[in-house]
Each structure stands twice: as structure tokens, then as C-alpha cells.
Amino acid sequence: MDHYTDYPTFSEALVGFSHEARKYGLQSGIQCTKDSIASAMEGLWLDKDQFGYALSALFCHSQEEQQLFDKIYNRYWRQKGTRINDKRDYKNKSKLLKQSVNSAVMVGVGSTDSSEDTVESKTTTGSNSKETLKRTDFSKLNMIQEKQLEELSEKMISEMSLRIKRRRKKAKQGQIDIGQSIRKNLQNGGVMIDLQKLKQKKDKYRLLILLDVSGSMDKYSFYLLKFLWTLKHHFKQIEAFTFSTSIMRITDFLNDKNIGACLAQVSQNAKHWSSGTKIGECLQDFNDNYAKRYLNGNTLTIVLSDGLDTGKPEVLDEAIQKLKLRSKKLIWLNPLKGMQGYEPIQMGMKTALPSLHHFGSAHNFESLLQLENILLDA
């Protein structure tokens, strides 16, 4: 049943509407149904517009839900026989995706062959879909999911940034300055009424990210670059470089407010994209030419790479040790680590491993969110 005329009484029709709304992902519980009956009893049902506004206030919890609600409401209470267009946002999404398709092709993901129908049928609603999306390997994302992930990552990184700021702020509070407290409370006869807290200096930390964009990383580098772009908009103290056979600073490109423009700029400048991998030489180049400027004792260095190196292991060993010495922490996030049965036995990874403070995975968004703990520990 999907129309109010299918029910004998108005109350039952309202219950039916509640079920209908739930089918489309709105969280309409019993309380919600009770409230909608109460609002109808206030006389709002006499005016269909007003009744729609009232139900919208009761059934929706976001702007997006309100837009969806209008369609459900219209179909259920007004017209019979029309269908809600489930692909309502598809045109916009396609348009947005087209804007970045050149960059996507550049890094080898523009050829995703999933048809629209397959995409829609795989889409689920609610928090479950978010969880699934977070856990989906970057190499298995289709274009729609990619867009959804972009939105989700923007939201989650923003929340992560807020949490980190708050916890760092909170961590600085609470330490009592005994001396100051005693001095301050002499006027109270020594009774500790006003406790004085220790004032701490702000410790600014930097984040340095080195992203591998060699051919073997093609499936991941595009998403990781997008992740860096989002991260850069919430953590100002980030420096980013891409490397494969040569190294390039991309921090300025990440400052672009438009992700499409950022990717376009990187694609115009990155001559080494999808080429071979010489991690050792690139890190050496970084140590020689950039390290003095971008590394200090408070820098957290993160290498995003699969570790499939074709250069000499001794060069990598020397470069990575130098990098470790100049960083507060050296972290390696490897997309291959998310694969079942993966072991870091390739020469590059084997060489780098003893010098690392942390070795984690970077194959999906969830693994990248682990960065929060690393940032908090630093």
C-alpha cells in the first residue's frame, strides 16, 4: 500500500505514511506517528500545505531528508500513480563527476565500467551505507561511491579536526600550579578557594605527507590525493609532496578551494605520474632539498606508498633513517596492507620497516581515519 486512499481511516493512513517514510530511509518511529496524529488533531490536516510542513518537521532530521520528504508526501497524499525518482541526485552527481573525469583518467580510474543501474542497486541508505563506504577498498569504488565518499570524508575529517583541537585543548587544562595557588589564596587565610592552573605554551606540530603516485599505486593515488585535499582544508600545518621517479611539492595546489581545479593543476604539473618507483632516490632528494625547510622536531611524517621500490635498497635505507631523525614520528601507510595475507616482504618495505614508528594500512577511508589516533599521540 502506498497511497492514503488505501486505508479506511485517517489514523491508519497516517500510520501507513509513517511506514512509507521508513521505507525511504526516514527515521519515523512510534513517537513520530503519535505526534503526527496529535498535529492532525490540532486542525492542521485541513490544510495540506500546513500538514506537509508539520509532518516534515516531525519526520525529517536534515535538509536532505526534507527534500526527499516532499516527494514522498506528494506521492502519498496527493497524486496517485506517480513514482519517486530514486535517481534524483544522479544528474548532479554525473555533472560533478564529469568535471573531474580528466584527472580521473589521468590516474587510471576514469574507466570504471559500472553502469548506472548497477550503481543504484548497490546503494543502500542510512548509517549502514556509510559504514560500508568507509570500509570499501579504494580500488573497488565506482564513480558514484567515489562522490559519496568525497562528501563523507569532508564531513568526517571536519569532525576529526574538531575533536583533535578540543582534546588537545582539554589535555592542556587541569594541571594545578601549586605555587601560584598558594600565593593567590593567602588572602583567604590559606584555604584553597581559587586554584590556579599551569599555563602551557602552544606546541605547534606539522604534518608532512609524501604520496607515492607511481604506476603500482594508480588505484589508490587518486583517492589519497583527494583525502589530502580534504585534510589540508582542516589542518593548516600540512606539507604534501608526490613522488615516483622524482619528487614534487603539491601543497600550493591543495590550497585550491575547488577539488577539480586542484586535481587539474596537479595533473598539469605531475610529469612523473604513473611512472616507475624510486622511493630511496626521491626521499634522498627530499632530504637534500626540502627537509631543512619543512622538517622540524615537531613534524609528523607520513609516507603513503605500497613500498614496491625499484631503486637500490641501501639508498632507501639511508634516506629513511635521515627522515626518521628529522621527524617527530615516521609513519608508513601502505594500501596493500589491507589485503588479506599481505606481508611486507618486498625489498622496499622490508628495508624501511625497521625505521618506522608505525606501519598501517591505507586501502579504505576507515583506515585513513586511524590517522586521528596518530595525530593525538603525537
Binding site: Q66, V191, I193
Partner: protein, 281 residues
């Protein structure tokens, strides 16, 4: 008091707020169902103002809790007056009161400092409670609010549960800098406050600056609408539009008052450059 949402529109209009039927219906529902109302929207669209208008409309005092990072129970609900408690202990040190009696005394209501939430529910008069920018507070604080929003009561371990004498009218606002929990949203009515349409913005300008020339007001409203379509760091809200209109009125008679008063509207160098290039070159 009101039998239909439409009755609210002229009354609220008289109080200086231009309201549409949709928001009037939501406010009508808020008054009838006595459920908290969550208002979400971009900064500067007039969310907070709605609470002030309701306070004027109903004749209830407004209690405002401004949320911020690290806001806790002590600042939002209650805190014990430690200084007073210490002094009381000192006074009763050599007295005849037993330890239990002293404890009962210093954990009595006399020693309780009421913060906005407790003040709103423990008052003899009905209040409008504005919990402003809830998205700035921590998730832990949101959890504290659940009991208040669903049952209009607050639990204080030393005193027990305090039930609202009069259910306050609760308005929560959020700029959506983070998603609020489902548990909190479920307890509230919801309304998304959008930027006003050009017609509504025109009405707002005229309401705040009645002497303004119609053509100038139209120009201002049209410019602001165009600016909101640009990728600005901070899109101008209604308050900025009014400030701009006032600025233009003050600079009237001088060279290019519209351009020269742009600083009332735009709050960053990037925005200024973008608007100058896109709309004034």
C-alpha cells in the same frame, strides 16, 4: 492562544521578523506539542532570532546557553558554590552540627549555582530556552541534553531529579559544522532555515530600514543574492545585508556608496577580491 499557524504570521511580522507559512506551522506545532525545535542552517540566516521572537511573542523570559568546545555540566546545568561551602564548613567546624547535618546543609539548594539549563526548568515562570550553536559543543554534552529534551528533567546526584515546574519552550540551533546525534534529533522537531528568497530579503530590508528607497533596496537584495551564488569564504547572511543597507544609507551622497560599504558585507580579502572581479568590474 493560536488556533492556526496563519494567525502567527501577522503577529510575528509586527515583532519585526518576516516569517513564511512553513516556519509558522513549525512554531505552531512547537507550541502545541511542547517539543524542542532544532533549527539548522547557514550562519546568519536568523535562527537565533527566532528564539528571541518567540520570547517576545509569548511574553516569557529567554534563557540562552551559548555552546562552545569543552562546555560541560558545570557550565550548562549546575555547579556547587564551593567558596560558600568551604566557608560554611569553617563556620560549623566548632558548632554543634554533626557531620551528616553539615553535609546535608552544604549540599542544599542554597549552595547550588544554577546554570542556564537548570534555571530554565527550575523557574516559577515559563521560559524560552535557547541552546545556541549546539554543533560547537562536544558529543558528550549532547548526551547530557537528552534527559532534558525528552523528559524536561535534570538529575543531580546529591539532590535527585529536578522536574520542570513549567516546560520551557526549547530552541536548539546548529550551523551544521558537524552532524548531531540521531538520539538528539529524534527528540526534536526539525526545520532547515534557508537563505531568504529575493522577495523575502527585500521585505526584511524594508522592515529594518523603512526609509530606504525601493529601488536601492531591490538593488541591494539582488546583489546579495548574486553574491551567495559565488564561492565566497563566508556567504553574507541577513544581518550583513541589513548592515550593508544601513552602510549605504549613511554613505548616500558620496562616491559609489554601494562599493565603498562592501566591508559591511564581506569579511575576507578573498571574498572582497572575488566580488569586485565578478560583480563590480
Amino acid at each position: 492562544m493560536f488556533d492556526n499557524p496563519k494567525e502567527l504570521i501577522p503577529v510575528i511580522d509586527k515583532l519585526g521578523y518576516v516569517i513564511e507559512e512553513e516556519l509558522a506551522t513549525v512554531l505552531f506545532l512547537l507550541l502545541k506539542l511542547e517539543k524542542p525545535l532544532l533549527l539548522e542552517g547557514n550562519p546568519g540566516v536568523g535562527k537565533t532570532q527566532i528564539a528571541y521572537i518567540l520570547s517576545d511573542l509569548m511574553g516569557y523570559d529567554l534563557v540562552r546557553l551559548q555552546c562552545y568546545e569543552g562546555l560541560d555540566v558545570n557550565n550548562a546545568i549546575y555547579e556547587w558554590n564551593y567558596q560558600k561551602q568551604l566557608l560554611a564548613i569553617k563556620i560549623h567546624e566548632r558548632g554543634l552540627k554533626s557531620e551528616q547535618e553539615t553535609e546535608d546543609l552544604i549540599f542544599g539548594e542554597e549552595y547550588l549555582l544554577k546554570r542556564p539549563l537548570l534555571e530554565a526548568i527550575d523557574s516559577d515562570k515559563r521560559k524560552v530556552l535557547l541552546i545556541d550553536e549546539i554543533d560547537r559543543s562536544d558529543e558528550e554534552f549532547e548526551a547530557f541534553l537528552l534527559e532534558l529534551l525528552s523528559d524536561f528533567q535534570i538529575s543531580i546526584p546529591e539532590l535527585g531529579t529536578i522536574q520542570a515546574k513549567h516546560k520551557p519552550i526549547v530552541i536548539l540551533t546548529s550551523n551544521r559544522t558537524r552532524e548531531l546525534s540521531d538520539a538528539l534529533k529524534r527528540r526534536c522537531l526539525y526545520h532547515w532555515v534557508n537563505y531568504p528568497s529575493i522577495e523575502k530579503e527585500l521585505k526584511i530590508i524594508k522592515k529594518h530600514i523603512p526609509d530606504i528607497e525601493s529601488k536601492l533596496a531591490e538593488q541591494i537584495a539582488a546583489y546579495v543574492q548574486q553574491m551567495r551564488n559565488l564561492k565566497l569564504d563566508k556567504a553574507p547572511g541577513i544581518a550583513e545585508t541589513i548592515d550593508w543597507a544601513k552602510g549605504i544609507a549613511i554613505l548616500q551622497g558620496q562616491d559609489n556608496p554601494i562599493y565603498n560599504s562592501l566591508s559591511c558585507l564581506l569579511k575576507s580579502e578573498h571574498d572582497m577580491k572575488l566580488v569586485t572581479t565578478e560583480l563590480f568590474s
